[in-house]
Amino acid sequence: MPEWKEEILRRLESLKLPAARETEIAEEISQHLEDRYRELLAMGKAPAEAQRLAFAEINEGDLLARNLRALEKAATRDDAPLGGGNRELWGGLAQDVRYGLRMLAKSPGFTAVAILTLALGIGANTSIFSLIDGILMRSLPVRDAQSLVVLKWSAHKNPEAHNANIYGDCGNETFGGPSGSSSCSFPEPFFRDISEQSGIFSSVAAFANEGPLNISGNGMASVLTAEAISGQCFSTLGVRPALGRLIVSADDSTSAPPVVVLNYGYWKSRFGASPSVVGRSIRLNNVPFTIIGVAEPRFDSLSPGHIRDVWVPLSVLPQLHPTPEQKTRADDIYTWWLVIVGRLRPGVTIGQAQAAASVIFRNEMLHGVKALSKPEDNPQVAALPAQAGLAGNASGFSRELYVLMMAVGIVLLIACANVAGLLLSRATARQKEIAVRLTLGAGRKRVVRQLLTESVMLSVIGGVVGSLFAVWGSHAIIGLMAAGSDEPLGFSPGIDGRVLMFTFAASVLTGVIFGAAPALRSLRVDLTPALKEGAGGSAAEGGTGRWFGFFSVGNGLVIAQVALAVVALVGAGLLVRTLQNVKSVDPGFDTRNVLTFGLDPTLIGYKTAQADELYRNLQERLAAMQQVDSVSYSRVPLLGRDYSMSDFSMPGTVKGESADAGTLEVGADFFSTMHMRLLAGRGFDAAALAQAEVVRERAETQRAVQKPGGSGAAVNPKAAARSRAPDKAAGQANEAALPVVINQRFVEKYYAKSNPLGQHFGQREANAKTGASADPGYVIVGVVSDAKYQDLQSDIDPTVYMPSSGGDVTFEVRSAMSPGTLTALVRRVVSQMDSNLPVIAMHTETQLIEQLVSDQNMIAQVSGFFGVLALALACIGLYGLLAYEVSRRTREIGVRMALGARQVDVLRLVVGRGILLAVAGAAVGIGIALGVTRYLASLLYGVHPDDPVTMVGVAVLLVLVALAACYIPARRATQVDPIVALRYE
């Protein structure tokens, strides 16, 4: 039979077709020639003649090659099958995907492990990214946020006589310090000046937190959060009503009737989404308000996390808070409290807006009625894009979220290395398949594309499963974050389009990263040995053929995984130790069995004397109860985040120099109720409290008669800004010094060498220049043990406890039993005393501490979880490599055992190798950890970033877990039966 194929192949040679295509054409045409040949024989031709005639069909020069050339050239460019037309690429991809799915389905174990690993890695990243997206990258719920700016002033030194109310709308606001001061709070007169700059802004608005308001007229009396806004606020922001109408300029006038707009969520929860609320009347702080509308659902707050239940016009504030300060605030250049946002006119740049605002600001600061700054302080205003400028609560979470993003990045890298290891092992199993495909003429690019398609498919499926993990994960983390506050977190991160884009991009990138090495490696396959039966060369091992060649890719991947896991674990370990350290801090008082709750009778019009009487009566009634051991109250609870401090003139210091100390106003029996030890002197008796009441009432009376905007109104505003203590500065010169109790720290700092009891401090003479009146100061009547006040981490400051009077307070009720059982009882008693008086924020002291450490708790728990996940993935990687090596070397182990190796030798061989890898990884990991943990320093407490205990602890834990991961494959190696293993030899 003539050799048709060889002849045809010779004629096709010049085309340089892929081998598979060339073979196919040759087969088809040789079949044709053979049919022709047989036909000619049948017609009676001699074989030689028949062969000549058959060959004549392809003997017309290079006609076959010429005719095929144009056709096949296009096809070889992309190895897509014929018949795909212009859809070659996609046709080829679809084929790759189909083939990939078949290959994945063929090894379900591998596929499941790889997808689960990737799902954990990608899911962890998606959940943290969804938090970053929802909290740090949240878009403002307003129209055309790009043209909205928020103003922020800065100066090298704090402006004089400046009293700032900061509500945290701008994130970081600073006062004093080496980098100067900056804040988003402005005085109302400046807001009016800016509003008149019609050339720059098309409209300007201002807003300020109005804190809690008492609401009645809608079921039980309760407290809500309110924001006061200027009349143009809603129109400037482009917010629409969901119902009724929103506040307009005409509502923001002292002559207009008080109106209120409800938050959509509040309307739904408290008013049952009733459309008839419009026109209804409610009482806020006992002032009748008409509900005029409900804001659109997406607008719940302007700065992230600051959800407000209602919005009221600025003009109603003097009615809501009938205090002298409120009445004068509109024209007061010393009280800075409004956040200003402006919408730029079309064509106006941020730079122009900034320059215009700065000119006005500098003018008022340097050349106003009273200069508040000096030229060298360089007061100026920055106009920030509102999206970035109004950071709100988001900035409080940014450090934690970026640390967590690094942690999950590490988890994803480990997952990638893990799956890359799995793929490398699998590449060995598929070596023959790839060799066959290459031999049959598959292009190398095509094989790489096929393998990459499979890895990207794995990671995309992993991404889909990971998104489900992420939904659960982000909810769990949000729960931990929200545990720190009674108010709603104000963020509702979810899996939206942007997060899905991130997940998809992360998945594809992941697929390419972990798929690249095995895919490229597959090209280095040596076809001849690979095709032989029983070939066992390891791609994972880099083809060295030695037992676990140490510098192989597989080992490298395991060492990298272990090293990364060590970094994640060290970080988590440091954060967990921080949580432990914070929780084990001795607060200096007994935190067990104490129930706290807030009352603010001033919201419903109580005067100081009335409030004091209420507090006394309530204290007596609660103390008389059988379940209650003792009761007291203070301005704020200990460890409730609130803190106030004042500066006092101290005897013995340079005149004019002041000493800082924390201040807390407390009621009778406070120290005994909190189980703080009275070290010397006495606590506060009824006389001390009565004296405090007199001081407070006098101060209030004096403030009420002072002229607005005059020097009297600006009495030592610096002190007012920093202190919530009663303004004794306004007291009478002939008044007696107020009795106070100080803590040990105060004694150590100021009375180290003398007996503090009976000592006076804080006296001040009248100063006509600054407008300060005389102050008789304080007399020390007692010394108590140190107690933590603001939080657990800060050092205890010198603290002055003063007798409390008026205002809002927090009650502390100590009980012998669980304080949770007292809540209903307390509410009933309060309600019996005044049914219009709501109980605010009822907590046990333990709960307050839990809230205080919630940030540390969240990051410790979440990073701990990711640390353990990283450890588990790394150990699965280690286990996978060893298990694979053992199964691949079964024959060799059999030979060793046949030659006399004992089981323990084999065990030692495998475990020893695994431990060597783990130790190498741990060493590399600790090296990296030493370099990067310093970035965690600001989140740590009581533990150094280089903490050796954590480092060694993590290394030991890792080696122990690695030992367990090595044991299973090692045990399997010892069970190799030499006879079975050698049967194939």
Binding site: I25, E28, I29, H32, E57, N67, G83
Partner: protein
């Protein structure tokens, strides 16, 4: 009318070039056939007037396959070497219908002209 004439001329040029394609598509219309069978049928049905050499036939088959008009598939029958059978795709069927119609019109036009000349000469 002028437009129609021009159109006819343009498409005629097309089908002349593609008459070989038309032959192949017609032959696989009824059932899938392999290359040798196609070449034999062309020869037989044209009574030896038309024939394709291997060097022209197979590149043409591959071109038609690449255009998606034919689909080739290896078929192994018991006791025989496997052969590649070509069947008409749905797209190929549409192309064939249009080419057949064009061919019909062309033949009629040619007949009318050649017939017309003969008649004139006879007159």
């Amino acid at each position: 009318m002028a437009l129609r004439y021009m159109h006819a001329t343009a498409s005629d040029r097309e089908w002349k070039k593609g008459s070989a394609e038309l032959l192949i598509l017609s032959l696989v219309e009824a059932r899938p056939r392999h290359g040798y069978e196609i070449s034999k049928l062309i020869e037989q049905k044209s009574q030896g007037k038309l024939s394709f050499h291997v060097a022209s036939l197979y590149p043409l088959l591959y071109r038609l396959e690449k255009r998606g008009w034919l689909k080739g598939r290896w078929v192994e029958k018991s006791g025989q070497r496997r052969r590649r059978y070509y069947r008409l795709t749905r797209k190929g069927r549409r192309v064939l219908a249009s080419q057949q119609q064009g061919w019909q019109q062309f033949v009629e036009a040619v007949n009318r002209i050649t017939g017309g000349i003969a008649e004139a000469e006879n007159a």
